[in-house]
Structure formats: C-alpha cells, structure tokens
Point group: C2
C-alpha cells in the first residue's frame, strides 16, 4: 500500500428536495454573490433553475448568471465566466448540471483568482492554491466532478482537450437529489454509467499489487453500478435505483476507490483525443469503445488481475487458463457497455482509420511519449489500441 | 435510501514516517500552541512522542502536554485538559494514541470553547458548534475516532459512560502510520478488530431495507477486516496487513458505511454499561461478547438480512431454512471473534448474573425505556440479552 494524502472536503446534502436548501446553506457559509453557472435549456424548462433562484433570493444571496456550457466544455466560455466573476465580485460559483458544467465552474473558480489566462493552468499544470469555493446541484451522475479534484476542458482553437487537477477546487457543497435525474435520456444515463464504471477500472488496473481494502471497496462499487444500471434503464423513475447510482457515481471518482494504488488513466487519455477530434462525442460513449480495447491490448500483462475482476464483478468461473479468463472478463465488460446501448466501435462514433494519425500529435502534446501504468504505452501502442477499436 | 447530510473534513496523511510531518502540517494550518494529549508510557518509551516534539519544535509550533489518558477515558482528566487549554491559550489539540486519547481530546476541544462544565454536553446532548480543531497521530486502529463525529467518556463519580456526537469535532488532520501499530499486544490488536467490525454490524443491521451502494461498501469492509485479521495476528510486522486494517478501521466508523440507513447501535449501548460497571473491560472485548448475544436475540426479526450477511462475509451456503441460515451467521460471527482470542461470555469479563440489575438504571439513564432500531428493545429485552451472554 503506497503512502497517500487524502481529503474530501465536500459537504454532501443528499435526497429528495435538497435543492431547496441551496440558498440557506450558501448563506450559512457566508456567500454573498454567486455565479450561477449552467448548461442548456433543460434546467430552465424543468423549473430547477427557478427553484434555485427562489432559494437564493429567500436567503438573501445575490447572483449573476452564465449559462450555455456545452458537453466537452470549452475554454472561451470559461474565460467569459472568469471575466464576469471578476467584474461582479463573485465569491462562490454555483454549478447546476453534470460534469461539464462542474468542470467549467472549476476552471472559472481557478481563473477568477489568478492574473494569467486560465488556460495556462491546463497547459503548465502548475499548482494554484487559491480558488473560489464551488457549490454544485448535480443533475447528471457520471463524471463524479461534484467531489473530485479534476476538471477537463477543451480548447477548440488548439484542438486540445486536457485536464487540470487541484485539491483546492474540490466542491465545498454538493446537493444531490436523485429525482432530478429521472428525466435524463437513456443515452445520457447509459453514458454516465460507463463513465463511473471507467473511473473504477482506471483505479483497479495499474502496476501495483493488491490493496485489499481499496480493491474490495472498488469492486463493491463496480457490483453496485452493474446491478443498478439495468434497473434505472428499465424504470427511469425508480428512486432507489437512481439514488444508489448517484451516490456510487460520486464515490467512483472522489478518490477513495484508488487510495494506496498508482492508478492507470491511459484509457481516459485515449478517449480525450476522440472528443477533442469530434466534440460531439459523449465522453462515456467514447470510453465504452476505448476501455475494452485498452483492456484487450494489455490484459496479457496482468492476466490474474483481470481474471480476479471477472470473477468478482461478473461471476465468471475460472477455467484453469488465466489468459482465457482475463479475455472473458474483457468480453464481459464490452458486453455490459453494449447492453446499455453504448457503441462498441470507433466507426459507430464516426472515427475512422484515417483519423488515428490526426490524434497522435495532440496525444503527444498532452501525455508525452509514453503514458499509463499497468503497461507503459508508447504512441505506437496508442495507434494499435485505436486500430483495435475500429 | 433515506436523505442524509455527510461531510468528512479530515485530511488523512497515511503511510510510513508520516508522523514527521506533524509540525509542518499544523504550522501550515496556523497552529501556534497545541495541547499534546496522550495516554500511558508506550508512546514515550517508543520514542514516538519525542519525534513529535522535535517535529513541532522544528516547525515553530509551541505545545503544552497532558498525558495519562486511560482506556475508557474519564471526565476528570478531560476537565484538567479544558482548564489547561484555557489557561495556556491553546489553539489546537494534538492527540497521540488510540480511541481513548482521541475521545478525550474531542471532549477537551468542546470544553475549551464553552463556559459550562463539559459533562453538561454529554448529559444534555445539546449542540455545540464551536470546538478547537483536533489533529491525531493514530497508534491503535480500532475506534475510528480519528475521523468520526463521536466521543465516549466515562464519569466514575456517577458510574456513567456515555457518548456525545458533534460534526464540529471531527479531527481536521489524521496521521496514520501502520508501522506504529507493530508493537500493539495481540489482545489489543484483536479487541480493535472486533471494535471496527462492530461499527460495520451496527450500520448493516437496522430496520431499513437494502441500500445496495452502502451495503456493498459495508460488506467489502467486513470482508477486508475478516481477511486481514488473521494476517496481522500471525505476523504483527506485516506492513500491508497492518495498513489495510488501519485504513479499514477509519472507514468503518467515518460514517460512509451507513449512509442512507437508520443504523442500530443497541449493542454499543449494552456494552457501554459493561465498561461503566468495570472500567477495566476493553471496549472491543465487551463487544465480542455482547454483539453475538444481541444478534442471537434479534435475528428472527430479520432472518433474510442475517442470512445475506452470512453468505457474503462468511461464504455460507443457503440451506433453504432462512432462520437456520441466520443463526449460522451469528455462530460464525462469534467464532470469528473467538478465533482472535476474544472472550465469548460475560463470565470471562468478570460480569455475573447479579450484576445485570446494577446496569439497568444507568442504561435507562443513557437510553430511556427503549433503544435500538432493528428491534426496539425494552429494558426487559436488555436483561434477556445480558442473560444470554452470561
């Protein structure tokens, strides 16, 4: 078990109607003027934004608004948010939405406290201890951004999509009402499930041996996500299924499921290039294609680990041939994603053989000549995995 | 899944040699004068206290000392600590030890910020939002007090032992070096294991239905504790086994293993009366006797839940008779505790038939006429469970 330092400072307010507490909880924490940040029109149409505005007004918390965050959030809107936050003297960011809105809010929270252009942080990864505090009303359980230290932002002008990790921008407040997820379209629900499951896989498969306390906890979350997934897809207004999935989604990426391990993150790096190339690709859908391809490519390097995963999560019986067991676990993973209606090939995402070379230079810019932990991947390995995914 | 609010503000610094960072981390957080609080002589003899003093001095953090915390910590020393903290203008409490020292530190942290005698908080359970911040160097993984909201203090003059829960006194910093637990005597290691396992049982068995995300996580911790227990007892200097157990012990009582559930806590209430009656009884040893007795008494009220636990944690095969399966799970629990060298009867703890009536009035004072959730227990039920444990 490796040494680690871990802190999760988020106060989680979980359950029915919790969004009505937004104003009071922010006021308690001294918020005076928040930037209300959101995505498209669904939060407006559903009345959620109005309920939040009423809650803020009732608590005497002022606010300015910035909507329009798109999936794969972009740096231009972040810059607009930074300018607005500075001009309006905003002291909290309130993100209403899923991972894209929260990631955008994190970027703004950083940018509002520095002089430089905020993209510099993504480019240089330099530490930034000072950010505005963030509160979240979560509407899409998937990215786990409501408690994580990570944000991922696209820069269309540069054709880049890259992450920035900062302990200081972990949200301080997260309001999680499972009922708000009832109206998510099946595709988004499914992509979210793949995203959270992938956050567990990235932590489970690396170049470190067993860490039973962390591994068992991680596997327990995999089993939960796998069991709740068909329940929410079959019955979108099943409160308990939605609630279990929403809470699991947070735990999948908060950090606790990888403590004491190295973690891998090669599959996320491979996926980021897909959605940098085609911003219309949903992150979870990209992962549904790339993760099984990565697994197939590397599983011969750690067959026992993959076989263990297959037994625990999919109930596979050992055949006596460890590599065959490992490959069966990979097949089960792909089949699980397919059962949710997710794509299994790059072609389904509109990415073809000739696109591979277009992704390599930005992959190099983001990750250098090699990346990943379970197997150190060269850029040639990356080419091979993309080809395997066609 | 019930609504909940949850926050775990502790920064965990985990691994080899982390106690050397105590001074620097406290200085970073603005500590100027800490109360160094500890138990008997073992931390002195091992050199741990000296390493901590050196670390504080190197970081320019002043300190005053108060040792002598006993198992089942007592209110008189807490009062001494409160007076010292007030007189010396202490701004942090630094607890070096296990659950008893940390619980004592929590009581002092509360008492230092109120005018009244600190026992009033235990008596009235009234909220106290203001406490001194607490840092912990953990030497005994068991109570989970390094991250929990709970403290339990004895009052010898009143013959009482009771708890006080306060979100504000959750420790802000916890240094967890598994090597510091190498020298724990087998009895204390084993009692700690029972304590952490009991924290999971209290959360798993209640009057609420399934909460899969929480239940699976809880069961994963039970499996971890059960698997690591024989490893640490057979090989006390096995770093990985000690590390897994230390981290699990925190997770067992931080709160995460019961979120969305009601939780029970009857067995802890029954045990507290044992160690109030005989302060020499180690909490974990008392639980090793009382928990299986409670389980035996109540399992007919929720046989499916007990059978599920037996399958998941002990690998028991269903026999078709649910109540028999439930009773087998109870037997396995008792056998697990016995395998660690823990007592299985009250007589082994020096508690006899004639002592039962002596515990009932204080049980009534602490819990009223009925308590527990899986089955609401009357004081007559309590008598019956004590008798079952003889």
């Amino acid at each position: 078990m490796e040494n680690f330092e871990f802190m999760s400072p988020t106060c989680f307010v979980f359950g029915r109607d919790v969004e009505q507490q937004v104003g009071a909880k922010l006021a308690e924490r001294g918020a005076r003027r928040v930037l209300l940040h959101f995505g498209g029109q669904s939060a407006e149409r559903s009345g959620l934004l109005d309920r939040i505005r009423v809650s803020l007004e009732a608590a005497g918390v002022g606010f300015v608004e910035l909507g329009g965050v798109r999936p794969n959030p972009e740096i231009e809107l972040v810059r607009e948010g930074v300018a607005l936050a500075k001009a309006e003297g905003v002291d909290w960011i309130l993100a209403v939405g899923g991972g894209s809105v929260i990631d955008s809010a994190k970027a703004i929270a950083n940018g509002a406290c520095i002089e430089d252009d905020v993209w510099e942080l993504f480019e240089t990864k330099r530490p930034n201890p000072q950010t505005l505090p963030i509160a979240v009303v979560l509407t899409i359980p998937a990215a786990g951004s409501e408690a994580s230290k990570n944000t991922v932002i696209s820069n269309d002008a540069l054709g880049r999509k890259t992450g920035y990790a900062n302990e200081a921008h972990r949200p301080k407040l997260a309001f999680m009402n499972p009922e708000l997820t009832y109206t998510l379209p099946p595709f988004q629900t499914a992509a979210g499930i793949v995203d959270m499951f992938s956050h567990l896989l990235e932590r489970f498969f690396d170049d470190y041996g067993a860490v039973p306390v962390t591994d068992n906890l991680n596997l327990s979350l995999m089993k939960t996500v796998r069991a709740e997934a068909p329940r929410v897809l079959a019955d979108p207004e099943n409160y308990d299924a939605r609630a279990n999935l929403m809470w699991a989604g947070m735990l999948c990426h908060q950090g606790i499921a990888g403590l004491g391990r190295h973690e891998d993150w090669a599959s996320h790096a491979l996926e980021h290039e897909l959605s940098a190339l085609r911003p219309s690709i949903t992150h979870g859908a990209g992962l549904a294609v790339m993760f099984p391809a990565w697994m197939e490519y590397v599983c011969a390097d750690a067959p026992a680990r993959f076989a263990f995963y297959g037994r625990e999560v999919f109930g596979l019986c050992p055949t006596g041939d460890m590599l065959a067991d490992a490959l069966s676990a990979v097949d089960e993973t792909r089949a699980f994603f397919a059962s949710l209606g997710m794509p299994t090939t790059l072609e389904e995402l509109g990415v073809f053989e000739e696109d591979i070379e277009r992704m390599i230079p930005t992959l190099r810019a983001n990750k250098g000549e090699c990346f990943g932990r379970l197997k150190r991947l060269s850029l040639d390995d990356a080419r091979a995995i993309y080809r395997l995914a066609l």
